[in-house]
């Protein structure tokens, strides 16, 4: 187990190369426990592969991934402490499963094949539903939820195992614009309240602003990594987007508007 001073997640010159996945090359970064990392990059830049490497689902061809003190095959042993919110496709509205039942699935790895749900397990499920504001819909069909609520459901499923690390893969990609900011706020709130080491993947830089701790810009390889000031400066963003960026202020918040991505 890691002590408080050790890194929660650490990549040392990690290269992943499979023909099935978008590869990443020579990726290095480190996160302290409780830090929030915004991972930005265009589609097909290896963001999902990076998260899968944290989960130990893809193994590096070279370099090493260390998660909560575990490395290589040991990562499977700490996977229960990692909550994962995969990129969402809309659920089949007729799929026969209730919201509560879908959240319970997050406990399956801990329950084993025949393990019964204990009172403590039920408490965790209730707490996860409360945390994302879905308790009132617990007995509805999961497929009948709106896009934003389905996303909350997936976050609740990741929270139910009370993880120390939370991975989110474009949690707003299948959500309408009006709901996006509420998802972003929910994630920030969970990070702050629970002290979760959080890796938040997005292709929209504005979702990690105002920036919390660190930002990683990836396009197959690390293009920029560091504090918010370092990465989200005009110079870095313009070189990364290959075009003019405009900073806009509104209600005390800063937004980035990208001029022409194809320039």
């Amino acid at each position: 187990m890691t002590s408080a001073t050790e890194d929660s997640v650490r990549f040392d010159h990690v290269t992943v190369a499979y023909h099935q996945v978008v590869g990443i090359e020579d990726v290095s970064f480190e996160l302290k426990p409780g830090e929030f990392l915004g991972i930005i990059g265009p589609n097909g830049s290896g963001k999902t592969t990076l998260l899968r490497a944290v989960l130990g689902l893809v193994r590096p061809a070279s370099g090493s991934v260390t998660v909560l003190g575990a490395t290589g095959r040991e990562i499977a042993g700490v996977r229960r402490q990692i909550g994962y919110v995969p990129q969402r496709r809309a659920l089949d509205p007729q799929f026969p499963i209730t919201v509560r039942d879908a959240v319970v699935m997050g406990l399956y790895p801990m329950l084993g094949a025949f393990g019964r749900m204990t009172a403590d397990d039920r408490r965790r499920v209730e707490a996860a539903l409360v945390a994302v504001g879905l308790l009132a819909s617990a007995d509805h069909a999961a497929g009948h939820l709106s896009g934003g609520q389905q996303q909350r459901l997936l976050i609740a499923r990741a929270l139910v195992q009370e993880p120390r690390i939370l991975l989110l893969d474009e949690p707003t990609s299948a959500v309408d614009v009006a709901t996006r900011s509420t998802i972003v706020e929910l994630v920030r709130q969970l990070h702050a309240e629970r002290g979760l080491t959080t890796l938040y993947v997005t292709h929209d830089v504005n979702e990690v602003m105002p920036c919390v701790d660190k930002v990683l810009y990836i396009n197959r390889t690390v293009r920029a990594f560091g504090s918010c000031e370092q990465v989200l400066s005009r110079e870095t963003l313009e070189s990364l987007y290959g075009g003019r960026v405009i900073f806009a202020e509104d209600g005390g918040r800063r937004y980035v508007i990208v001029g022409d991505r194809h320039a």
Binding site: L57, M105, L145, G148, Q149
Partner: protein
């Protein structure tokens, strides 16, 4: 009125109806939820090759069908993995191949044996005690495995990506389901036959799908539909003197039509659909 129950062939037919109805309707939940309907039909046709081989070599056609169906399921699995193509294409390749072997085996037989064709449409009244033992054993394997892996298969079916991320061997579980489907096909051959088994793999579960939002309840409703269809079909076929496979499928389809017409799921949706459940933000 129930005097027909005194006949041994009728008792065996009833028992086999219950076994077939139970096995098909339970694996059918996965066929419907995971979109394996073509796999079911493909494996059923592959059984034809096994049955023909059984007659050619004068061995039990059901044993030969077990080997043929499992072999075809394995080939489908390997080909879709290694050749990296969609599973439906792999099914198309190998089910046609197994059928072709069946035609070849029949051509190689010295004498024409009409019993081969009995397996195409099934005859529940012709089930022997030996058939019943094999059917019950295979049915137990299928139902027992589904029960043992209830949670794992539920996770796989609802969210394969997440199941994999939490450490489940999703590839092996999917292959296992295909294998169980192959065994289910063999269980059903004598009763409903190669052509009609697809109906029992899909229709009871599709009926249940219309009626419930709960996963466990889907098995219960599918099971009731499957067993009632098989038993009612058998009784109707006996009373009216019509082919049993056809009677069973027609009854099951009638249940499906009723469920689809009066589905409480969709009626409920119209009233309390997305609007009332919309985000509370």
């Amino acid at each position: 009125m129930l005097e027909f129950l005194h006949y041994g062939f009728m008792q065996r037919a009833l028992l086999s109806s219950v076994i077939v109805g139970t096995t098909c309707s339970c694996i059918g939940v996965f066929v419907v939820l995971r979109g394996m309907a073509f796999a079911g039909s493909g494996l059923a046709h592959a059984a034809f090759g096994g049955v023909a081989l059984g007659f050619l070599l004068a061995v039990n056609p059901l044993f030969a069908a077990v080997l043929f169906c499992l072999g075809t399921a394995g080939l489908i699995q390997v080909a879709s993995r290694k050749a990296q193509m969609r599973m439906d294409a792999a099914i198309g390749v190998f089910f046609a191949f197994a059928m072709a072997l069946g035609v070849l085996f029949i051509g190689l037989m010295r004498r024409y044996d009409a019993r081969v064709y009995g397996y195409l449409f099934g005859n529940v009244l012709g089930v022997t005690a030996g058939n019943l033992v094999l059917m019950a054993a295979l049915g137990l394997v299928v139902i027992g495995t589904l029960g043992l892996l209830y949670r794992q298969l539920k996770f796989l079916t609802f969210d394969e990506e997440m199941a994999e991320a939490s450490g489940l061997p999703t590839g092996a579980l999917a292959a296992l389901l295909l294998g169980l489907l192959a065994l289910t096909v063999v269980v059903s051959l004598k009763t409903v036959g190669i052509i009609l088994v697809e109906a029992l793999l899909v229709t009871p579960a599709a009926t249940a799908y219309q009626l419930t939002h709960r996963y466990g309840m889907m098995f219960v409703l599918s099971w009731i539909t499957g067993v009632v269809s098989c038993v009612a079909g058998l009784v109707i076929s006996y009373a009216l003197g019509i082919p049993s496979g056809a009677a069973i499928v027609i009854v099951a389809t009638a249940f499906f039509a009723l469920a689809a017409l009066f589905s409480p799921k969709r009626r409920k949706c119209k009233v309390c659909g997305r609007e009332s459940l919309a985000d509370t933000v």
